[in-house]
């Protein structure tokens, strides 16, 4: 509804098309900023994994087959590997939750000066190389290492314990690696919990324990689940620490994949295992996503 009439002879400017093209060109320019990253992901991630996916269904001669998957499903060795992987992942994740939840809680409750200092205790190991930490545990846990020496000196044991090159050592080492992955997201979510809820509960007569379980813990669940899922997924596909601290006695999926690449003449077995690992990872992610969504809906 324009109340000013143009006095110029040329009334309508026919540039609608031109302006639309300018708009498209600009969007293309901004998209092209993302394209190098996308190309790398396409060629180095999606393409190779797609290829492997393909190879998991193909045998040595190039014919389609379910042989590789069948073997995984039936052969005892593979069942053992999956069992061990799950055992270790659940164990490690569980211990991380038991140790990490109180730690994150404490960090979120103390003054900001203290939390800054204490947080360094989580961050410094997090920043340190994986190999360095694995090596450190190797040193600490072996027969004449620090842990055994101390235990013997304190008179708690007579003989040195076998703490390394087995499941125990693997779990100890993996918990050490995974703990920050659980603590950091959990801490972040705890920090955003409003403490007035708890004070209100105390006001209404709830004991600290009750208030904690009924109010605080549910509010901390999203962060806990995020950290838990991250930890579990990392454990599923973990290679380095079990390989070093397990001493060959702890065979997890990742190690089997590596072995399959060198053992077999085709890509079949390794890729089939890889696909299974990927599907497990995706399944866990989806389950957690759904769980958090359902929880959010319940909270309303």
């Amino acid at each position: 509804m324009s109340t000013v009439v143009s006095l110029m002879p040329r009334d309508r400017s026919p540039n609608v098309e031109a302006l639309r093209r300018d708009q498209s060109r600009e969007r293309l320019l901004l998209f092209s900023l993302c394209s190098p990253g996308l190309l790398i992901v396409l060629f180095l991630l999606f393409l190779p994994i797609g290829w492997l996916f393909f190879f998991s269904f193909v045998d040595g001669a190039g014919n389609p087959t379910f042989e590789h998957y069948r073997r995984i499903w039936t052969e005892g060795a593979y069942v053992q590997i999956f069992a061990v992987t799950f055992q270790v992942s659940v164990l490690v994740t569980g211990i991380c939750v038991l140790l990490g939840y109180p730690l994150a809680y404490c960090l979120s409750q103390v003054s900001s000066r203290w939390s800054g200092i204490l947080m360094l205790g989580v961050l410094v190991p997090f920043w340190t190389s994986l190999l360095v930490r694995t090596y450190a545990w190797l040193v600490l846990l072996q027969r004449r290492g620090l842990v055994n020496s101390m235990l013997i000196d304190l008179g708690i044991i007579d003989q040195p314990l076998r703490l390394v090159h087995n499941l125990t050592g693997t779990v100890i080492g993996m918990v050490h690696i995974m703990l920050p992955f659980l603590v950091l997201p959990l801490y972040a979510s705890m920090r955003s919990i409003d403490m007035t809820y708890l004070r209100a509960a105390a006001n209404l007569g709830a004991s600290p324990i009750r208030a904690f379980w009924q109010i605080y813990f549910p509010l901390s669940l999203p962060g806990l689940v995020a950290g838990l899922v991250l930890t579990f997924i990392l454990c599923l596909g973990f290679y380095i620490t079990p390989a070093v601290l397990g001493g060959g006695r702890v065979q997890m999926i990742a190690q089997r994949i590596e072995a399959s690449v060198h053992l077999y003449p085709t890509w079949g077995p390794a890729s089939a295992l890889g696909v299974v690992l990927l599907l497990l990872t995706v399944a866990v992610l989806l389950a957690s996503h759904w769980l958090i969504g359902a929880w959010r809906r319940r909270i309303g």
Binding site: M1, S2, T3, S6, M8, S13, N15, D22
Partner: protein, 367 residues
């Protein structure tokens, strides 16, 4: 007329012609076929409530929003398809957008350095424009050392130092407190008069618009409602929205038949004869109504009788809410000296109000 080097010589000010500008986001029309012709050196304000399209219009002129159709000419140049940095337009942003990692002087020198002006000339111009905004000697200060008002002046300085063809301002005074705002209104107007650059400002504050501008464009839901001098917008609003947005107003439904305008059967004497046979509204500015206490004043052609509903003493005047015979409620603002010795009319009392013909204006009603 003698002009400073930092000013624009009289012949250099450019007109801005906007034709049929349209912009939509999905089904929402941010700009609906807007056309404006701005004269060289004019100070125009785009006024309207939020969502009216005034900021979108300014951003389109600046080049940060792309319209779906239309043309924007600055002088002889079509700029609508040019990127912002080629339009040679100075802009002052609402939050000033000064560069915190540079000093005041470096901020102002920035556009000059981009134009590869030699260093000594840059220094000279920067100092000159700082004097112009009364911040002489502030060149080496850092941005975070400045107050809000000072930052605003630096933003202004930066926008004019390179002698842009036109100057744009996006709610330049909204972040300032009342006292500072009124002072800056005068400052900006003074600066404009000195520089002579065509200026387009955006504001939602009608008082600000009326104070600073040569002409005001009132926008509502993407449409241009009226584009005129402040006085004309007030005295002769083109439609209900403008009448309501600027100043206080009441409306009475009026029918026009056979060349005569009637309110509830009563024939009205108008400033301009009614033309179209359609629904109209009679605009009543509260302060134009005259208090008649029984005397028939011949200079007041239109009389209304009503009952006082509410009377609020507001210092120099009294604001009355009156219900007329037809059931319509109107506002009347009567200066103290117009009232009886009896003071403020009591609620429920009968009151006679007059409106002279030249103040009686019809505006189009809804269909």
């Amino acid at each position: 007329m003698e002009r400073d080097k930092a000013g624009v010589p009289a012949g250099k000010a450019l007109p801005v012609t906007i034709r049929h500008l349209a912009k939509h986001y999905g089904v929402v029309k941010a700009l609906d076929d807007v056309s404006l012709s701005i004269a060289p050196g004019e100070f125009v304000t785009l006024l309207g409530p939020s969502g009216s399209g005034k900021t979108t219009l300014l951003m389109t002129i600046a080049g940060f929003a792309r319209p779906n159709a239309g043309s924007i000419m600055v002088g002889e140049t079509e700029v609508v398809r040019l990127p912002p940095h080629k339009r040679d337009i100075g802009m002052v942003f609402q939050n000033y957008a000064l560069f915190p990692h540079m000093t005041v002087g470096q901020n102002i020198a920035y556009p000059l350095r981009l134009r590869r002006i030699p260093r000594p000339e840059i220094d000279r111009r920067v100092e000159r424009v700082l004097e112009l905004v009364q911040l002489g000697g502030y060149g080496s200060r850092r941005v975070d050392e400045l107050s809000g008002g000072q930052r605003q002046r630096v933003a202004l300085a930066r926008a004019i130092v390179f002698e842009p063809r036109i100057l744009l301002m996006d709610e330049p005074l909204s972040a300032l407190d009342k006292q500072l705002r009124e002072r800056m209104q005068i400052e900006i107007r003074r600066l404009h008069d000195q520089l002579g650059t065509t200026t387009i400002a955006v504001t939602h504050d009608q008082r600000e618009a009326l104070t600073m501008s040569d002409r005001v464009a009132v926008l509502h839901q993407g449409c241009l409602m009226q584009f005129a001098e402040p006085r004309r917008l007030y005295e002769r609003p083109a439609n209900r929205f403008v009448a309501e947005f600027i100043g206080e107003s009441s409306f009475l439904p009026v029918t026009v038949e056979g060349g005569a305008a009637r309110y509830c059967g009563q024939v009205l004497t108008l400033a301009e004869p009614a033309r179209e046979a359609r629904r109209h509204l009679l605009l009543l500015r509260p302060e134009k109504l005259v208090f008649l206490n029984g005397t028939a004043d011949p200079s007041v052609e239109n009389r209304f009788v009503g009952r006082v509903v509410d009377a609020v003493f507001q210092g120099e005047s009294v604001l009355l809410t009156v219900v007329l015979a037809g059931g319509d409620e109107i506002l009347a603002r009567l200066p103290n000296r117009q009232l009886d010795r009896g003071g403020v009319p009591a609620a429920g009392s009968e009151i006679h109000l007059g409106l002279s013909a030249e103040d009686a204006l019809l505006i189009p009603g809804e269909d």
